[in-house]
């Protein structure tokens, strides 16, 4: 029984780490521009799909190079999204920007379908498939990649926003745009940096998880939804909350799949999300709405 639980924890933390990265992407864009970016899942999908295709075949690139190029490509997509879809709609209502990002997600999914087809693809794990046994539970090297990679990126994001001038400049833009530009901060540029960073996190999440979960042109839909739920669960706008919300959602799903039934895991995750929101409408670690500036 203990080993079984341990196995569920390993699976849950791995999925949860991916949710956390997607949720962190939502949070960064939400904080910078008050936009809920429903194309966040497509960043994840594009990171994985373009890595698969760049590395495919006899003339394929080595995986690290393919992954790097894919991340750069997805960052460009993020910047484009900001520059050509979000920036022109500055001052529009929340509903309008949501429609824009949903539109962008549909567009990117369609593009992926046209370019890459609708097959499901796997990816070779980065460091083989020799399992590590902990009692009866097994840990695959790719699980370590996912958890370790997520940890590194979460720490890097934390460092960026708390210890660098560029990170603080983005925060300043999110607190007060006019005042930020009076500091000499190019707000438009900072928005592009925020979207690029968010796209980077999404692409990395997609690449890390592809060897475990397979990928296809529409893989971003579910991941985007889960990441969004995780961000809400943790408290929209709080980066720490996004990470906690992601890990928690992953654990809840894996435990309910293991202990109850895998058919119910999404439903149980959703019910717990609703319960939390019922008790704490601003999420686990969110500020009360009256505290927001």
């Amino acid at each position: 029984m203990f080993d079984q639980i341990l196995q569920f924890l390993i699976t849950g933390l791995t999925t949860g780490a991916i949710y956390a990265l997607v949720a962190l992407g939502f949070t960064i864009i939400y904080n910078a521009s008050d936009v809920v970016n429903f194309a966040q899942g497509e960043f994840v999908m594009m990171g994985a799909m373009s890595t698969v295709f760049l590395a495919a075949g006899d003339n394929g690139l080595p995986t690290p190079l393919a992954a790097t190029l894919s991340v750069v490509l997805v960052i460009c997509v993020g910047i484009f999204l900001q520059r050509f879809a979000i920036a022109p709609a500055r001052g529009a209502s929340v509903v309008t920007t949501i429609i824009i990002t949903i539109g962008a997600s549909i567009f990117l999914r369609g593009l992926a379908l046209v370019v890459w087809g609708k097959d499901i693809h796997g990816m070779t794990p980065f460091s083989g498939e020799t399992p590590i046994h902990i009692g009866q539970a097994t840990l695959l090297p790719q699980n370590i990649w996912v958890m370790g990679g997520t940890a590194v990126m979460v720490l890097a994001v934390h460092y960026f926003f708390h210890y660098t001038m560029q990170g603080k400049a983005i925060l300043a833009c999110s607190y007060n745009r006019d005042a930020a530009s009076l500091m000499g901060i190019n707000v438009g540029l900072m928005m592009m940096v925020a979207y690029g960073l968010s796209a980077l996190l999404g692409a990395m999440a997609g690449i890390l998880v592809a060897p475990i979960s397979f990928t296809s042109y529409d893989a971003g839909v579910m991941l985007g939804l889960k990441g969004f739920s995780a961000a809400i669960l943790g408290g929209m706008g709080n980066p720490m909350g996004a990470v906690v919300g992601g890990l928690l959602l992953g654990l809840i799903e894996s435990l309910s799949a293991g202990l109850i039934s895998s058919g119910y895991k999404d439903a149980i995750g959703f019910i717990i999300l609703l319960l939390v929101l019922f008790i704490r409408p601003s999420g686990l670690m969110g500020k009360r709405s009256s505290d927001r500036v």
Binding site: M165, K168, A169, L171, A172, Y175, N176, D178, A179, A180, S181, L182, M183, G184, I185, N186, V187, V293
Partner: protein, 250 residues
Amino acid sequence: MPSESLTSSHANSETLLTVANLSSRYGPVEVLYDVSLEIKTGELVAIVGANGAGKTTLLRTLSGLHRSQAGAITFADRDITNSSAHSTVHAGMCHVPEGRQVFAPLSVDDNLRLGAYALRKESQWVEAEMENVYSLFPILKEKYQQEAGTLSGGQQQMLAIGRALLGRPKLLLLDEPSMGLAPLLVEDIFRIIRELNAKGVTILLVEQNARMALAVADRGYVLETGRIITSAPAKELLNDEAVRKAYLGY
């Protein structure tokens, strides 16, 4: 009406800011009509005017937060008409906006450092100026780790001014620095404005508190419903009957 006098102590210094026939509007609503003014290096110039006269709009148009409709702004020999706000800062125009607008969730120290964002590569200068600002406002040094949003109104005003000083202003734009402050703090703020000017900072001060503004200024402009209706040395304006009736209340 008093006329422009040549007795200003800065009569021989060079012109820092020239505003020629500036007009501004919000959508269809015209707010500034044909505003012209000039500031010389070292001067302290006040713009007084009633609520809604367009003072804030004028400063926002100068610093590039708001686009002008017509006219030209020349600053330090550069045409900055419709430059974006972040680039006018690089040119040396630092705007302390109405209502202080500090970054509430960030620390006092971070707020000040963001003021030097444009100069962040010059770390030696920034560190030295941080010390200057902290000695000018010791209360900020005491609270340097505190969130700016937890400061009192007066302390936030000091922070907003300090933050602008870290932009190394050639011209400091101050929008109603005394707004909402207790009388004692108002005295403090005006004393600091005088000190800064004495140290050589050129200042354009916008105030509803016309009496105090004209008391510290070299020259003043009166803005009435978007038009400059008179300009003169500040002392003349203080003694001008029409100005006294309309803006000084006696």
